[in-house]
Each structure stands twice: as C-alpha cells, then as structure tokens.
C-alpha cells in the first residue's frame, strides 16, 4: 500500500470488533476523494479495555505517515454500551413512575416471545420490581397534571418520602418516567432535578430523553441510557486521555445507531444513542460511497449474515429495533440477520422422517474455527465448503497470511456425508454432494429471509444492488443474487474494514421527536408549524455544539395516519438547509402534505381514503451534515490472471480462471472466475462479469442485465 500524501487533512474512522480493531483514514478536508485514497490498518482488539487497542492502532496508523497535526477528526464506533446491556453489566438503577403503573416494565407489551411454547418466559425486566417506586404524579394526554400534584408540580411530603425510600435502595442511577410525562416535559424534569439534588446520583427524565407517547418504550429507553451512562462516561474519558497522550487534539465523534455520528460530548450526555451503531456503520458507508442508489448491504461475517436496505441511497430506519429483549423507540438503521456466516456449522439433521442437511444456526466460533483452520475443529463450516469447492484457495487465503488445510475440510465434510447416511444416498453421500447441498441450502435460506425483510417494506429484491462485505460477503454474494434475481453486486475496496470506513464518513446527525396528535388541517396549521419550528431550532442549536463547518439539511417529518387507522407512515413535511436565514420563518402547507401522504399510502398500503381525516401523531426533525464526497468512477484498475482451477458452486465442477487486481491488465473478468483480494475472495459465477473502478471496488454484473449496467 502506498504512503499517504503529506500535508493532507484526515478523518480517521475506528471500529472495535470482537477480534480486530479496524482503522481507516480518509481525506478529511471536504474535497471529493476515492476509496483508493483510504489508508487502512488492523490491530487485535483488547476486550478488557477497548480504548487500549484504539490507542495502539492509532499510534501504528500515525507511524505510517499521517502527521498527528493533520488529523482533522477521529470518529469512533463502539459496541461497549451494547455489550454491557446484553451481558447485564450495567449500573444499578431505580425507576420512579406513576402510582398504579409499577409494572410498566414487567407487563411490557404483554406478548410472549413464542406462541407454541409452554416454557416460554418473558425474561427478567430491566429493573427488578422492588427497585420501582411509585409517586402520585401523572399527567393527562394534554399534559395537565392529575393526581396529587402541588402548584409547582412536586409535593414536598411526597418528595421526602420518595427520597427516603430511594436512599434506602441506594441506586447508582435513577430514571423518572411518569405516565403522560411526554406531554409535560418540564414538570418531569423538575421532579428529576429535585431528586438529583437530594440524592447526589444522576437522575434521568424519560421525557427529556425522548418525549414520545408509549410509556413502556420510553421508560426502557431512559433506563438503558441511565444504566450505561457511568460505564460510557468512563470509557469516553479514557479514550480522550489516550488520544491526548498521542497528542491527537482533533475533534472526536462517536457513531450512532441512526447511521450518523455526534460529538463525544453529545455521546456522553446521551450514550443510548450509540448502542446499535456497529451494524449501522456498513450501511452508512454504502450511503456515503454510492449516494442515490437502491442498495441492500450484505455483511457476511463469521456467525451470520446481516442486511441493511438503502432506498435511493438513504438507509431505511426503524423505530421498532431491539437491544436484546429491550425496545429502542428512537430511529435506528434497520439491520436484519438473514442466515448463515462463514463459520456456520454444516450438519445432518436427523430429527425428521428423512435426514436433511442444515447450515447453522450453530457456529464453529473463532476457536477452533472451521476444520480447514487446522486448530482442532472437526465440524465443517461454510468456509470449509468454499475450500473444498475450490472457491477459496488454501494457499492464498487472506493474502497467503493464513494457510488452510483442504484435506481437513474434506474429511470434516465426509463426516457429514456419513451422518446423512442411507436416507440421502441419492444426493449428499460424498463431500462433493455435501458441499453442493450446503451452498444451496445456505443461499436459499438467506434468499428466503431477504425476501421477507424486503416484503415487509413492500419491496422485492430484483431492483436492488448488493453491497457485499465482511469476510465471506464477496464469496457468497453472487450466489445469493442469483437466487433472488439481483443483477448487480458491489464488493467495496475496503470490504474487510467497511464498518470503520462507515465511522470515518458517517454524517453528523441527530434525530428528535415529539408527540403532537393533531388533525392535519388549516385550523391546526399554526400549532403544527410552531411545534415543527421548535424541533428545528432544537436540532440547529445542537448542531452548533458539534463544531462542523459544512452545510447540511434539516428534515422535518411527521408520522401520519388516517383517523382510526392503527399504523402510521412517516411523511416529509419540509427539507431546509442548515444555513437557511433564521429570520425566514418555517412555512408548512396542508395540501402538499396530504398529497404526499396519499401517494405514499397508495404505494405502501395499496389504497387511499379521500374522506378520512389525516392525523399527525409524532413530529420529527433530523439534522444531517455530510462530510465530503466519495468519488467512484469506472476505469483505472484492471485484472491479471494468476491461475486456473476447478470450482463447484452449483453442483458441477467448472473450470474457472483466477485473477488479482493489478495495473495494465484486463478490463473485465467473465465468470466462472475467482478474484482473490487481500481481505476476501470473490466468486464470479458463470453468467456474471466483473469490472473494477478507480476506487478499487469490484462491480459484478449479471450478463442479462442489458443496458442497465451503469452504477450510480
């Protein structure tokens, strides 16, 4: 890899994974650049203190020729909040809620995880019942206080009683979430402030975190935020100290679950916004690298494959994501697991009338890993199937740094053939048969889930481009594409460090929301406009604290529904530049909003209702500032043939050419072929053609795609 040019300003993205900490430096001076300009680096992760690996990696990256004073910004994605929640290593919290609603966490939304399971258990609530205290305060839907409120909202005797009981419980953090609190933010905050003053521990008001109706979801969000605050504050403080030691005094940004990033100060104040940032990173990278394109990201790692959806280059967000069993009502990038990863176990399932082959859900894990790793593993994984099939060359795996044992892969596969036994003598009695079946079972299983995920949005896969990354993404993507009728696959240059790239180039972004519950009509327009303008001011005020020079966009939107309808659709009300003249007041108009809602409703639900009133439930504002542009054009890099071997990916051995990226070679490669890169192996099946661009990205196109081959 070439040394970076001196004197350039850099943004450094850092993604801490379970095994490796990935670092990517990209030009950070706001100019357009190509992915080939990115400098990548990888160091082992340090789970006991992830900031240690960050420091080591950053120091090594700087040694490769990036002057410390040229670092414009460091953007960091971390999963420590997520892991703390999943493993229950969180601060001891108490919850204060309204009288009669102590079981808001225990009852939750009342559903059991499975219907046909007599042993189903809803799991333990996020805070045990004995740490939930009731207070008389609560509010009606319009924010008026009902039940035991003094003039300033807090009754002294009630407060004293509450403080006494909280002191007894001695929690490390407290959340206050009152019924109706979303409509009475100041009153709830006032109670939280008085409790904090009396107790001397952090007290979070749920309405301050996210003032949207839905007491269970809002309470959970506030508790998650409160519970990880001490840990995250400690981590971010340590991180800042380590950066300081390296004399990096650049701004530090933390990636967030909505596909954006925020200043480290913002992240410390509201750490819950970071918990699902990991999977969002890859989706966010695709959004920046190929704006305007309809894409499905396929991140195929060791244990599973995850997909994200981008419509017109915008990540599809969801407000129904979960962290373990806990709901997250804030908008986050929707990422769904669709099936097997490279480490998924291939096995014979003998539970039915006839034995059948399964891929996953168990994984061989990093240790011992697939049989071919030669680390003692005897269960074959999907990676072993790639090796036996000739798709992965044992000698050149990961650029030859990690030689594999094909014989071990084959004998492990033979074990499965034996397990399948008589019953399957017709199709999978040999390792070859097992490989054919495993690739097909994995592809069809992933295809089925992918179709279902898209169907939930009213979409079908055919018009999407796959963006494949993760260790096995490029290996399996074209097979999956063939299964679902996708005709274009992109394998990004930095496929192995794509999430770190996502951190480096994620826009600065913040979402806010407020329940409004208003009929969209002329008579309510002033009130709606006032609320929207307040939300706009909130995100713009926030943006000023983020220290970014570039201009961005504020998107104002509303969750709308026909009166009496159970579900809402988010409809954009207005998009405004962050540089809009503050004196220029926000103007909304009823008619275009109703028309947009009707159009969207027709598309998603297949009907409109001109007679029904349209209600706005929740108003939303989102500010997003993009940091520079990624250039991506055809031409430039080429392929050279490095060999030939037989590969089998569809039940028949096929002679395939093997290629690497190099200067002055062929412009394209026609399948069946294999393209070997340092971080992944890309299979080009028959009927597909691969080209590359000046960013080092691979473009696989199914031949029948005709004239639609141009990428965005």
């Amino acid at each position: 890899m070439t040394l970076p040019p001196a004197g350039r300003r850099w943004r450094i993205g850092i993604d801490v994974g379970g095994t490796f900490t990935d670092l990517v430096a990209v030009p950070g001076d706001g100019t357009s650049w190509s992915l080939a300009d990115a400098v990548t680096h990888k160091v082992p992760s340090t789970p006991h203190d992830p900031s240690e690996g960050v420091e080591t990696g950053l120091a090594q990256l700087l040694e490769r020729g990036i002057a410390v004073e040229d670092v414009a910004a460091v953007a960091h994605g971390t999963t420590i909040g997520l892991n703390a929640i999943l493993q229950g290593r969180v601060a001891r919290a108490a919850l204060v809620t309204s009288a009669g609603h102590r079981d808001v966490l225990q009852i939750a939304r009342a559903r059991m995880p499975r219907s046909f399971d007599l042993h189903a258990s809803p799991g333990r609530p996020i805070v045990p019942r004995e740490h939930v205290l009731e207070v008389a305060h609560r509010f009606a839907a319009d924010g008026t206080a009902v039940g035991g409120l003094g003039a300033d909202g807090v009754d002294d005797a009630e407060l004293a009683r509450l403080v006494a009981r909280l002191t007894e419980l001695a929690p490390e953090v407290v959340a206050v979430s009152l019924v109706g609190g979303y409509a009475a933010r100041e009153a709830e905050q006032h109670l939280a402030d008085r409790l904090a003053a009396a107790l001397g521990v952090p007290v979070t008001s749920a309405a301050a975190v996210w003032p949207e109706a839905g007491e269970y979801e809002r309470t959970t969000l506030a508790l998650l935020d409160a519970q990880i605050t001490p840990l995250m504050t400690g981590y971010f403080t340590a991180l800042r100290e380590r950066l300081h030691r390296l004399r990096v005094d650049a701004r530090v940004y933390i990636t967030t679950s909505n596909g954006g990033s925020v200043s480290i100060e913002s992240a410390m104040r509201r750490p819950v916004q970071t918990v699902l940032s990991g999977p969002a990173g890859g989706v966010s990278a695709a959004a920046t690298a190929w704006p305007g394109t309809d894409m499905v990201t396929v991140d195929m790692g060791g244990t599973s494959s995850d997909i994200g959806v981008l419509r017109g280059g915008r990540p599809v967000l969801t407000t129904t994501a979960t962290v373990g069993p806990h709901p997250l009502m804030t908008p986050v990038v929707e990422v769904s697991a669709i099936g097997a990863g490279g480490g998924s176990v291939i096995s014979a399932d003998r539970s039915g009338a006839r034995p059948v082959l399964r891929v996953g859900p168990a994984s061989v894990g990093a240790v011992p890993g697939p049989a071919a790793y030669g680390a003692g593993g005897t269960q074959p994984a999907l990676t072993d199937a790639y090796v036996h099939a000739g798709v992965i060359d044992p000698a050149t795996f990961l650029g030859g740094t990690f030689p594999l044992r094909a014989d071990l892969a084959t004998s492990a596969l033979a074990g499965v053939a034996e397990d399948l036994g008589e019953g399957s003598a017709d199709d999978a009695a040999e390792p070859d048969g097992v490989v054919d079946a495993a690739l097909r079972v994995a592809s069809v299983g992933m295809a089925a889930r992918l179709r279902t995920v898209l169907a939930a949005h009213g979409e079908v896969p055919e018009r999407y481009t796959f963006v494949a990354f993760g260790g096995a993404g490029g290996t399996h993507a074209a097979l999956l594409a063939d299964e679902v009728g996708v005709r274009r696959v992109l394998v990004p240059a930095a496929a192995g460090t794509f999430c770190a790239l996502g951190a480096a180039i994620a826009p600065i972004r913040r979402d806010v929301a407020r329940t409004v519950r208003t009929v969209v009509a002329e008579r309510n327009l002033d009130a709606l406009t006032t609320s929207a303008a307040e939300l706009e001011r909130e995100v713009l005020d926030w943006l000023r604290t983020q220290d970014v020079a570039a201009t961005g966009t504020v998107t104002l939107s509303a969750d709308l529904r026909y009166a009496g309808q159970p579900t809402t659709l988010e409809v954009v009300l207005a998009e405004r530049s962050t540089e809009a003249d503050p004196a220029e007041p926000l103007r909304l108009a009823v008619e275009p909003v109703l028309r947009r809602f009707a159009d969207q409703h027709e598309k998603v639900h297949g009907f409109t209702d001109a007679t029904a009133a349209v209600r706005a439930e929740t108003l939303r504002a989102s500010v997003s500032v993009r940091l520079g542009e990624v250039r991506s054009g055809h031409g430039g890099a080429t392929f050279v043939k490095t060999g030939a071997r037989d590969v089998r990916y569809d039940g028949t051995p096929r002679p395939a050419s093997v290629h690497a990226l190099a200067d002055d070679g062929e412009a394209s490669v026609t399948g069946p072929a294999v393209i070997e890169k340092a971080d992944t192996t890309v299979l080009v099946p028959a009927g597909w053609t691969a080209t590359t661009d000046d960013g080092g990205n691979l473009h696989l196109v199914r031949d029948s795609a005709g004239s639609e081959n141009e990428e965005g």
């Binding site: 225990q106 059991m112 499975r114 042993h119 189903a120 004995e130 109706g180 059948v356 017709d426």
Partner: protein, 698 residues
C-alpha cells in the same frame, strides 16, 4: 424424483412464500384486527387440503391444522374450480369447520400449473363486522348463528380473476363496516396473488408431481418430529375435567371433559362427557374431527419439546379426536359460536390437566385461562374501544415459576400503551399492574394475574366478553395451589358497588370506576418446599404479601428478612405435606402405561395430583363426575336442541336447595347432603341410568 435437498430447499422457498403472503396481507389491510391483534393468517396447501407451509411467527398460529377439503368439496359440487377463482366462506357449518366463527372470513385460491390443479392458497382475516345483533358481531348472548351475522357458504368471490360484483354487493349490505371489510378481503386477494406467483415459480421448476412430493415430504418431516417429541410422554390413558363459569343464559356452569390416550407418540383426545351445546355463543363446530383450534395445546406441547419443528398440516398426523354430536365441541344445527375461544381455552386446560400426568416435568399447571378484551363504548355508540386485552399468567411447572401477567395460550396479543388509550378513549387508567397474591402458591409459583382499574370520564358502556374463572380456580398440580379467582367490580367499596359475572353491555356513568382482577395461574409442587429465598424475593417484589408468605408457604418474613427459626418451626409443624405423597405418585406414574387404569378415575387423578380449590371441591361433592357422566349419557339420547335446557332443569333443581352464590360460598352440611341426594336421585331417575358412562368410545 426429487432429491431430499431439492425437496428441502423447495420447502424453504414455499415457507418464504407464505410469510411474504402474510406481509402482503398485513400491508394492504386497514383493520385493527389485522394490524394490532394480528388476527389473520396465510398458508399454502397441497391437493390433500392440508397446509404444507405455514408462517412460523406472523399472524395466528392456531389454524395450522385446518383442512380445506370440505369447503372445497362444497364449492366444487356446484362446478369445477378454474384458474383465477377465489372461494370465500365464513360459516362454521357450511365450510365444514374451516371457519370457527362468522367474523373469520376465509379465502381459498386454487393454484394451477397450466390446466393442472397443484394446490391451494389460503388466507383468513377476522373482519370488523359481519352484521348480526351487536356491533362487531360477537356477543356471548347471541342464541343462534343467525344472530351472529351474514353466513357465507363456500362460494366464488372471484371468478377468472374478476371479483363477482353481486357477491361484493351482498357482503357490503350485511356489514356495519363495509369499506373496512372490502379492504380486508382485497388484502387477502393480494396475498393470494403473491402466493400464486411464488407457487407458480416453484411448479415451473418442479412440475406438479415435484410440487406434490415437496408437500408430502414437508408434512412427513413435521409428523415424524412431532411423533418423536410426543414419544417422551408416558403411554397411557389420562382423564381430566374443568368448568366454564356458566352457560351464558343461567348461572349453571359447563363441564369440559377429556380422556387423553397417549400411544407411541400419538395422542387421542376424547371429549365425551363434555356438556351439550348451549343457546349462547360458546359452541365450537368440529364435525367430530380433530380441529386445529381445539388441539392448540398439543401444538404448544410439540413446540415446547421441539422448538424448531416446521409448522404444517403434518402435525395433525399424530392427533386423534372424538367428540359426540350436539356437544360444546361438536355443535350442530345453528348453535352460536362467537365466543368459542372461551371454550377452547378450557379445552387447553383439560388437555394440560390430563397430559401433565403423562409428562409431569413438561406440562405446567393451569394458566389463568381467560382472554377478556375490556371495551369502553361511548354512550351514543359512536366509538367502541378496547382499553386493554386482559389475560392472566401461565401455570407454574416443574423447575420454574409461571409467567406473571402474560399468557399466549389462546392468542399472543399485544396490549395498548396506557398513554395511547388515554389519548383516544374517555377513560383514565388508574392501575394496570400485576395482582398481588393471585398466583397459586407452590414450590414453583403460578403466574400472577393482572389488575386493571379505570375511571370513566364520560357516560358509556362496559363490554367484557370471555370473562371466566370467576367461579372455578385455575388448578395447581403436585401440591401446588390453585390461583385466585377473577373479579370484576364497579365502584368497589362505594355504596353503589356492583360485582359483575356476565357482561353484555354494562352501563357506566362518568366517574364510575371499574376494576378487573384476572385469575392467577396454578402453582406446582408443595409450597412448603419453595426455597425461603424465592419466597422472600416475591415478598420484596410485592407479588406475595407477608401474610400470604406465612399462610401459604410457612415462611416468616420480618423486617425484610426471613426469620429462619420461626420459619423452621412453622414449616415442620405443619402436617405431612400432601406434596410428598404426590411427588411419589407422580414419579411412579411415569414408569409407563401399566398404571394407566389407576389414573383414569377422577378419584385418583384429580385428588392426588391436581389442587382444584374449595369451589370446585364443593361443586363436585354435589355433582360428582361419575353421576355427571351418567346424566350426560342420558342427555345425549335427547334431541340436540333440548339437551342444554334439560340439563339446566336437572342441575337447577339441585342448586335451588343451595345458597345463591354456591359454590363460591360454602353450604351447610345439611344443605350439601340434601343436594347430593337430590342430584343422585335425579340421575337415577333418568332413563337408562344404569348404563356405564361412555367415556371410552375411542
């Protein structure tokens, strides 16, 4: 001939197809039932009429075992099915048991490969209203299917791809919500189109014969897995019975009886002895065949033992069923069926009660056993809103407490956020919480019931269909105690307090307060064997009071800690626990089928294993099983429509000599002796009383 791999991946594709159908339906629908309650489903059947692929986790799971054949035969009797046809039906009788009550509208589309019929797409939706006496069509007080709305026999709603306008006109004219219904029906058509397209892609690859192979393969795989799961149950014959609070038209309870025979991985349920069909909407139409909706507890058992079993019609291969004509579970003629979920909920309890004897470490004690959508209706009838769909908890089982305040036994419903309710309905929710001291005590505690208290902010009406367990407790097992009874009270503690047991539409004034406390689930094992720390944890959490800890568990809690010495005295001081005896008998029973005879008699099984609670013990002292069985044999000799009234007459005569709220209150010994005699004499006087109860017709 397809290889196993080809059949398996084809089935995966078919599975994705039915899930895509469901998502298509949900997107296109506009009714609360579909979006919120997920009261819909889609599937694909092969020519057997049984489903070969069924959604694993979208929509209603309980219809996986439906058989399309009778409905299809009824339609083809009029003329052959052609490509582009879609059948519609909602009538339990005319559809051969496909639909279980009129609001469930089912659609069937034949799928063709060229001219050759290969299978069927299926969808159903609980539509908002199909006419009838009351808004939303369902009330327990409906006395015949004619009061429940429009009956649609299997007919062509779509012919050659075009909706038949005359049919659409009749449907629209017979609903209070014609537009919403039309939206739901068209949503089903969209789902069937999706299914037709995906099955078309499959048959293009596989051909009709290949598609048939895939169906057979999938059903055989699931049947084999179900069989291996059920083989873990001890072979034998097990009997259990339980009660519905009343028959809808009087205070006389209804008895549900099952005799379950487990034999090498197959289970036969014989419902003989269950009471005659009634003149209220509690009846279930099965035509005497194993009906999916009646055997969901067995699906749940299979799913517990083999969580990954693919859902399809193959599950029915291991299930047998008997129910005599004219009874609650094989209603005939024109009996009303709207609230059949209350009855099938009790079937779940008796199936559990029987099979817990065959697998005491797998099946739980009784769950709370009720689903009550608590509804507030505006005084002018302009709005009808669910405040909360109320359930209770799940029963305790060997090794684990039950779940508090949640139960997916009949349907896995979501609740409504209180903040959404208060924004849309004229009520203030004062309390929505777990109910203290409601879960049956046991070594493992039964799940707590729920408590919902709300204040009406305007005048209006209260509806609460499916209200159950006000009179007979959810039973405990192996020494575990039964759960607390349901209570529904208006203005509790005020001079105008009203305690309600049957609700059609109960008027409310602004300021009235309604509290519903749902029953707790049954406990498992001797409460004296519950660990002190578990009792203390329940006390600390406030789910068990200090008083109940002492009374039920013999644990003395003082100042937030267990008084170890006082507890030891308390626990050892109590008489030899029945739990010990039960533990022995349970483990002896599990050795095999040879002891089954001992377990078929109520006197052995019910007393030694299930704790039924004082109400039921009082009831059964007066109306013992053996006599009730004999009465049932006689009732079945009468014309179907007269049986319920005759039974009411016989039992009513006995109850006349007992306190009004019996068995909720104790009667004097003299009253009991007299009542026992009256009933025995009444049974002895019926023709053919000497015959043995025909519970073993299987």
């Amino acid at each position: 001939m397809l290889t196993t791999v080809e059949k398996d991946v084809a089935h995966t594709r078919l599975q994705a197809a039915v899930e895509e159908m469901c998502l298509t339906l949900r997107r296109a629908s506009r009714s609360l039932y579909v979006r919120d309650a997920a009261d819909f489903a889609c599937a694909v059947a092969d020519l057997s009429g049984r489903f070969v692929a069924y959604p694993q986790d979208v929509g209603v799971s309980g219809f996986v075992g439906l058989d399309l054949t009778p409905a299809i035969e009824a339609a083809t009797a009029i003329g052959p099915l052609a490509p582009g046809d879609v059948l519609l039906t909602n009538d339990p009788y005319l559809s051969g048991g496909l639909s279980t009550h009129l609001p469930d509208v089912h659609a069937i589309a034949p799928f063709f490969d060229g001219d050759e019929l290969v299978g069927y797409g299926w969808a159903f939706v609980h539509v908002s209203d199909v006419g009838g006496r009351v808004p939303s069509s369902v009330s327990v007080l409906n006395d015949s299917v004619f009061a429940e709305g429009l009956r649609i026999p299997p007919l062509r709603y779509v012919r050659a791809g075009t909706v038949v306008p005359e049919v659409e006109a009749i449907l629209a004219a017979n609903s209070r919500t014609p537009e919403a219904n039309r939206g739901d029906l068209h949503a089903m058509l969209a789902a069937l189109d999706t299914g037709r397209r995906r099955v078309g892609e499959l048959t293009a690859d596989l051909g009709p014969a290949g598609f048939a192979d895939v169906g057979t393969f999938a059903r055989e795989q699931s049947a084999a897995r179900a069989r291996s799961a059920l083989r873990t149950l001890a072979d034998g014959t097990y009997r259990f019975e339980d009660y519905l609070d009343n028959d809808g038209v009087s205070s006389v309870p209804l008895r549900v009886v099952v005799t379950a025979t487990v034999d090498d991985g197959a289970v036969h349920l014989d419902l003989t002895g269950t009471d005659p069909q009634v003149e209220a909407a509690l009846n279930m139409v099965t035509f005497g065949r194993a009906h999916s909706w009646v055997v969901t507890r067995l699906f749940a058992l299979i799913g517990t033992l083999d969580p990954a079993v693919p859902l399809n019609g193959g599950l029915m291969d291991v299930i047998g069923f008997t129910a005599p004509e004219g009874t609650l579970l094989n209603a005939t003629g024109t009996a009303a069926t709207g609230v059949r979920h209350a009855t099938t909920s009790r079937v779940n309890d008796v199936v559990s009660g029987a099979l817990v004897q065959a697998a005491p470490e797998v099946l739980p004690a009784a769950s709370s056993g009720l689903v009550v959508p608590v509804v507030f209706a505006a005084a002018d009838g302009s709005r009808v809103d669910v405040v909360e769909p109320m359930v209770g908890g799940t029963g305790a089982r060997f090794g684990a407490d039950g779940a508090d305040g949640r139960d997916s036994g009949i349907s896995n419903l979501s609740n409504n956020p209180v903040e959404t309710v208060e924004a849309n309905v004229s009520v203030r929710v004062l309390r929505y919480a777990l109910r203290t001291d409601s879960g049956g005590a046991g070594r493992w505690r039964g799940g707590s019931g729920l408590e919902l208290e709300f204040e009406a902010l305007t005048d209006g009406g209260l509806l609460a269909r499916g209200l159950e367990r006000l009179r007979f407790r959810p039973w405990g097992f192996a020494g575990g105690r039964p759960g607390a009874l349901t209570e529904l009270v208006v203005n509790e503690g005020r001079p105008d307090e009203r305690r309600l047991s049957v609700v059609d539409v109960h008027p409310l004034r602004a300021g009235d307060r309604v509290v519903l406390r749902t029953s707790g689930a049954g406990g498992y094992g001797d409460p004296l064997e519950r660990s002190e720390s578990a009792v203390l944890a329940d006390v600390a959490a406030g789910l068990v009071t200090v008083e109940a800890a002492l009374e039920a568990y013999g644990v003395v809690v003082r100042d937030g800690a267990v008084d170890v010495a006082a507890t030891a005295t308390e626990r050892t001081g109590r008489s030899v626990s029945s739990g010990e005896r039960i533990t022995r008998s349970v483990s002896g029973e599990r050795t095999g089928g040879s002891v089954s005879a001992e377990w078929t008699g109520r006197s052995v099984s019910a007393e030694r294993t299930h704790s039924l609670g004082p109400e039921r013990e009082r009831w059964e002292r007066v109306f013992p099983s053996a006599l009730a069985d004999r009465l049932d044999v006689y009732l079945r000799t009468l014309p179907t429509t007269t049986r319920a009234a005759r039974r009411r007459e016989v039992l009513g005569g006995v109850l006349a000599g007992l306190p009004e709220r019996f068995p909720g209150v104790a009667a004097s010994e003299e009253e009991l002796v007299a009542a026992e005699r009256t009933f025995a004499e009444a049974v002895a006087a019926v023709p053919g009383a000497g015959a043995t109860p025909a519970s073993a017709t299987a």
